[in-house]
């Protein structure tokens, strides 16, 4: 972000948001963790909270809306958290993609590109929590274009894939990994058939599922073996959008965690024209 002339300050004593938003009407307890984070933002004298994660974004943004919609709810949560100052409302939750698109602007990002991604075919994968429900999502729920535009500004070609807004299996990867494997085989299979060099995500759980279950599906050993024909043996590398962005902005490769990826993205990245 420094390279883009933008400063983000880490929230002191931040806590986990709970990862999933409660969809029930009577579960006030589930809003305590998000509201505690909003109290931290308030203490900093700030009004906006930026997150890198689609699940945090969804949970925090919806909780902010939920407590703002009804002063009585907020009062009860504040009363419960009697060790904390009262949250007064008004914190705005943003995903980093929104900051890049709406404040920094993709044009300004493009002007800072040092390693243009010419010739690289990148498949954006949005998943669920960044786009749904309407009124929370950062883009059209069925036809988003935020990541496509960003990657094009970085010099890459955005590959259109049919399952980019469909669920990867999410937390069912814990309860029923076979379900997640089935989803990932379909998502990655389509990206592979359309010639994607890389899949790029905006959610850490999508990243895990797409990498992990791709390997199981592709190595012919797991129960996903029947999908093996769709998935290349070596798989398609999965990167977080921030990794691809930082790479294009010229951040040294050693700082980008490529060596930790389950499927090494470096061979794909070196295929870019002039790479």
């Amino acid at each position: 972000m420094e390279r883009l002339g933008y400063e983000l300050a880490e929230l002191p004593r931040w806590n986990c948001c709970g990862t999933v938003y409660s969809l029930s009407t009577d579960d006030l307890m589930r809003h305590v963790a998000p509201v505690r984070n909003f109290v931290r933002v308030q203490e900093m004298g700030e009004g906006r909270l930026v997150t890198l994660c689609a699940m945090c974004y969804n949970t925090l943004r919806r909780s902010a809306q939920f407590v703002s919609a009804d002063p009585e709810r907020l009062q009860r949560i504040n009363a419960f958290m009697d060790e904390e100052p009262d949250y007064r409302g008004g914190v705005e939750v943003l995903h980093l993609l929104q900051v890049l698109r709406d404040e920094i602007t993709f044009e300004a990002v493009e002007a800072k590109v040092e390693r243009p991604l010419y010739g690289l075919r990148v498949a954006p994968y949005y998943g669920c929590m960044l786009l749904r429900p309407r009124g929370v999502g950062i883009d059209d729920p069925d036809r988003p274009e935020t990541m496509e535009l960003l990657f094009e500004h970085l010099g890459a070609e955005a590959v259109d894939t049919p399952h980019r807004v469909e669920c990867c299996g999410a937390y069912q990867t814990v309860a029923d990994p076979g379900l997640a494997r089935e989803r990932v085989a379909e998502i990655v299979g389509a990206a592979s058939r359309r010639g994607a060099d890389l899949i790029v995500t905006s959610c850490p759980l999508c990243t895990y599922n797409l990498e992990r279950h791709q390997l199981v599906a592709g190595d012919g050993r797991g129960t996903g073996a029947r999908h093996a024909s769709h998935v290349s043996r070596h798989g398609i590398p999965v990167l977080y959008f921030t990794q691809l962005l930082a790479f294009a902005l010229g951040v040294p490769e050693e700082e980008l965690g490529f060596a930790d990826a389950a499927i090494d993205p470096r061979p794909a990245l070196s295929q870019r024209v002039g790479g």
């Binding site: 999933v20 969809l23 029930s24 009407t25 579960d27 669920c128 807004v165 069912q172 379900l179």
Partner: protein
């Protein structure tokens, strides 16, 4: 019941058991708004693991059919919200699925046995799964 028919929504009079009302309370959704177009079922990425399609879940609720309470579908639902953004009647079906899970969870059932958790799953998935699938 008569006032409900006046409101323009067809209800099945006198046969609506308590669990339907409870599901509506927990979800905040009107299950009788559904007119069975099937868009939710068509777009759901998890139907391969479901015993009842999402539209069928809503239909059984409308009929007050208690078999919906033993269905596997709410436990297969991953709250991906694809159904809700496509519903032409504005029913947030994921909320109905959550209400059905809570109905069972608050009676001590569980959708996840801790011993079955595969090794190496990340925290974000563990927290999500335990919040959605355990009491």
């Amino acid at each position: 019941m008569a006032d409900r028919i006046d409101s323009g929504t067809l209800r099945i009079p006198a046969r609506e058991p308590d669990f339907v009302r409870r599901v509506e309370e927990l979800s905040g959704e009107d299950v009788f708004a559904c007119y069975q177009c099937g868009k939710c079922s068509a777009g759901c990425p998890f139907t391969s693991g479901m015993d009842l399609l999402p539209a069928e879940v809503l239909r059984l609720l409308q009929l007050g059919d208690g078999r919906v309470l033993g269905a596997r579908s709410p436990w297969v639902c991953a709250s991906c919200l694809a159904c809700g953004v496509r519903c032409p009647k504005g029913v947030d079906i994921a909320k109905v699925m959550e209400a059905l899970r809570l109905f069972a969870l608050r009676r001590g059932e569980t959708g996840l046995r801790l011993g079955d958790i595969p090794p190496g799953v990340p925290q974000i998935a563990l927290v999500g799964a335990t919040r959605k699938l355990t009491p």
